[in-house]
Symmetry: C5
């Protein structure tokens, strides 16, 4: 389980509160129930209005995706597909069934199962591309919820501060009280901006980054599955898949020179 999301949030809060205490501030000066009600209540309400119930129900899944999901190792996936390509060429595609059924990646597993079932090439591509599109859309809809929360919460902070100022200035009798009251009003801005920039927006960004990685892996697997179905040479499969990964391509196990001759000789 990758812990950077939770570590980052704790570190961010520690930096802000630590800086405040270092300046000599008192922690209870940051605790204002009314400001919290306005900012978090308002943000939650705006998010509830913004999305249908069915989407709101995916928030726990979205959080799990952001906090714990680990993307498969791309190099391992390439090796697995290359191994399947070798097996398929040696023993035929039916021999893939045993290898595929145990694979931890469900997209690869399902795709190889369709190869074993003898699904038509174009249909296989079409179904797997639809699945990639559907996964991409699901992740985007996860990220949009947090992005919209990150958009609403600072404005709710401004609303809270303006309401605080209206209250303070409207009932002003003793100018010396002005300072502390304005301090209280500013807490709402603090809550709204901090929640957006330490929690909502970074989580949306993490979801999008992880989605990018996962979609890239799925596209790589799709290319690999189709190549296995076509019975392409394992070296060629590796070469194609390695092209998806810029960093890898200089360190990939050297393709045997002259394999094209072997290829054409077969």
């Amino acid at each position: 389980m990758e812990m950077t999301t939770i570590i980052g949030i704790l570190a961010g809060l520690a930096a802000l509160v630590g800086g405040f205490l270092w300046e000599g501030g008192q922690i209870n000066g940051l605790m204002q129930g009314a400001a919290a009600l306005i900012v978090f209540g308002g943000t939650i309400a705006a998010v509830v209005i913004s999305f249908p119930l069915a989407r709101l129900k995916t928030i726990p899944k979205a959080l799990r995706f952001a906090f714990t999901r680990q993307t498969d190792n791309t190099e391992q996936l390439i090796e697995d597909v290359v191994n399947m390509a070798t097996t398929a060429r040696r023993n035929g595609v039916l021999s893939l069934e045993r290898m595929a059924v145990d694979h931890p990646n469900s997209f690869l597993r399902e795709g190889m199962q369709m190869v074993v079932d003898g699904t038509d090439h174009e249909l296989l591509r079409q179904i797997m591309e639809l699945e990639i599109g559907a996964v991409e859309q699901k992740h985007e809809s996860y990220a949009k919820i947090f992005e919209s929360a990150g958009g609403y919460s600072p404005t709710m902070g401004i609303i809270g501060t303006v309401m605080g100022l209206i209250h303070v200035l409207g009932s002003l009798t003793e100018p010396t009280d002005l300072g502390p009251s304005i301090a209280v009003a500013f807490t709402a801005t603090l809550y709204g901006v901090a929640a957006a920039n330490i929690i909502f927006l970074p989580i949306a960004s993490k979801i999008k980054s992880r989605s990018d990685d996962e979609i890239q892996n799925m596209e790589l697997l799709l290319e690999g599955i189709l190549a296995v179905q076509n019975g392409e040479h394992p070296n060629l499969v590796r070469k194609k898949l390695v092209s998806f990964t810029p960093a890898e391509r200089y360190h990939a196990p050297a393709v045997k020179e002259g394999y094209h001759e072997h290829e054409t000789a077969e």
Copy 2:
């Protein structure tokens, strides 16, 4: 009828007003007729200028779409299309007429009617894609109206506050009056920002979310209708349609193993 839109708006207003009262504010400090005239009058005027009359007349429909429209259940639609595929293969496409005529989804109904009428495959696709595009455009135009209101209202709030400050500062005689007068001026900002973030922008967002769901269903139905017209095997129809829905695909009723053999044996 899904109630989240109306519940969200009420909850949002409750959070803001509740926070204000908790701080000790008085509710009549938030009621300023002049600020309301500037913010809401100005926003309505800006929206009226921004769109032709014919679009403005769609606002009630847009509100109904945002507040009450419920998207069809995708799983049920898939089942219905699979049933139609089974019927069509067994009894021919003409037998679909009775099933289609009673279906609550008008897009499916109309599409199946065209299949029954023997409409040409490419023409059927073209007409249904035009309809999907037209529905998408209609929803976008609904959302745009609320988005533009959500863009204008905070600036109208700023205009109201600046006008209030001009009035207050321009006729300043007694500094002790300054506070309450500025409080009044800030009310316009409050109205503008709150209306945008509790009402206009979340409604625009809800319209877009519902449109996404509906368009996705229409695309799924289009694929299904074309598959039925082609006389594809119900299992294959289900497999295709299920690919549109990422969550479903792991729980879908297991496709009978070896159906491809049956398929090719037919």
Copy 3:
């Protein structure tokens, strides 16, 4: 002539000024020549720099488009094209010349003239698509001018206010004069934000909405003209064109059942 643009602008100004007077402000407090010079002079200058002379000369046309242009009635256009399709099938395309020459829509007129002239199908499509693209680009360039004015004017307002504050604070001798002087400085912000949100941005938005409607009609006409040239059945032409208009499709005159039989029987 649709009056919503001019009515909207007057209503918007009335709401702002009315709110100001209601609060007890005096109208001459809003009249500041220097602020007007900075905001409107600066905005005009920025727009002049931003666009070549040839584009600036289209501003009167753009205003006419925003204030008075009325889009053709889509349903009437569909009926006219269907009538032409009927005539063309009965009497040949040459008989269209008399119908086309009087039609108020110049795009339809010109397209049908090309059909009568026997222009090649692909060439006809290519020329008419180029024209649609050119009209779209012309409208976009109209809208861009007002959008850029709406972007510059609030910043010119800020410049005016900052310059006012520099003047006021720089020569501060009597603190009691501060209030009225700052009020004067704020007028520039008021001018800039109000001009952008009551005039420039809504006009840009109106131009874009009208352009959308007009382009949609042109695309519908293009499809209709090509269908007439192909000699398609009037019922089919109507069905295609109606697909462009989501609201219409449920109320369109019922397509005679069984027309496909007639069609194939011909």
Copy 4:
């Protein structure tokens, strides 16, 4: 030489300074060396970091493009291409060499030279499309530099003002000095916002407008050159090219009726 860029900048500065003087401000109140160093030094530094040296060296060319470049007259270009089409049909493409070699437009000249050289149709299109793409990219990179300067300069103004306030407030001993010092601090904001909105952003916008016009002409010429190579009838060439220009198409010299008959009779 079109002078609107330089005239606009001078007019914009005159409007701002004029408004300031009208209010009774003193011109030396606007002259602050330190603010200028922060805003312009900071903006130049940020631009230098943002772009590789090779791009920075194109700034003089970009300025020349924005200040003096005049786009070719589209109608004249159409006439020239139509004349070439007539010559080519009458005397063969080799006769174009003399006409092309003297043409002021280098893109047309070069394209016609390739026609004379007998370059293959698809290769000609490919090479000319690559050139259009390269010119478009060059103009975009010109505009990006000024856009980024227009993005940095207001934030440098804010930095300057904040630094001024830190200095003023940090060493505050005599409250009566506060006003003039804050006035000085605000000068940085004034510089940053004014430079962005009177100089940087409008120049970027002008570059993009001119680029649009030039690219549109190049696309029109490309279509014309290919039509000449194909030996198309001059009337048809004119009809095609006129479709690129919405305003022209209603005033274009009337195409002789019945030219298609002549056409097919040839």
Copy 5:
């Protein structure tokens, strides 16, 4: 090694600090540990949350790319490809191996190696396009990290300032202390805005500019490698490649007139 990035950052800091000192500020007024903790701690935390660990680990590479990477000279690359085209036509593609193996550009080297290996034309294009896409994506992901830091740091500055104001105003006892304390609070805004505009955003922009140049070179090389594989005439190869570079095309070594005759005569 191109030094503009580091020079720009130093010059930017010098301009800001120089302006501050010129105004009479004291350098230690700008040094606030608590503000630095809030702004930089908060920004780092937000970036850590926003990206998976694997992406964060690429930051050193991204910095190296922004600070030291020099793009290959395009004209030199064109000459090299043209030379290879000449060699390949004279001595066959196998003779390219010796030329390719020593070339400093790894993309050209690898592509020519694949030509020598006799890789299929379409497969070669597909693999090299995948590599270009992968490099583009890598650079984008570099830039995104700095862009997101540049987005978070000003808001962290605002958070720091608001926290400072809460502390100051909340414990206000002596109004004369207000000024220096607010000055301290503003330091956070200064840090956040300056870091974003002198460091984070310009570095992101530099990465994108360099990526554009590099991708353009790769696309040019891809076209060149495919042309060499096709055995195209060196003059034609040069003409194609030169079309990628707008500035060059007027100064390119003149293509011998009449080469098409030679070409077809071969």
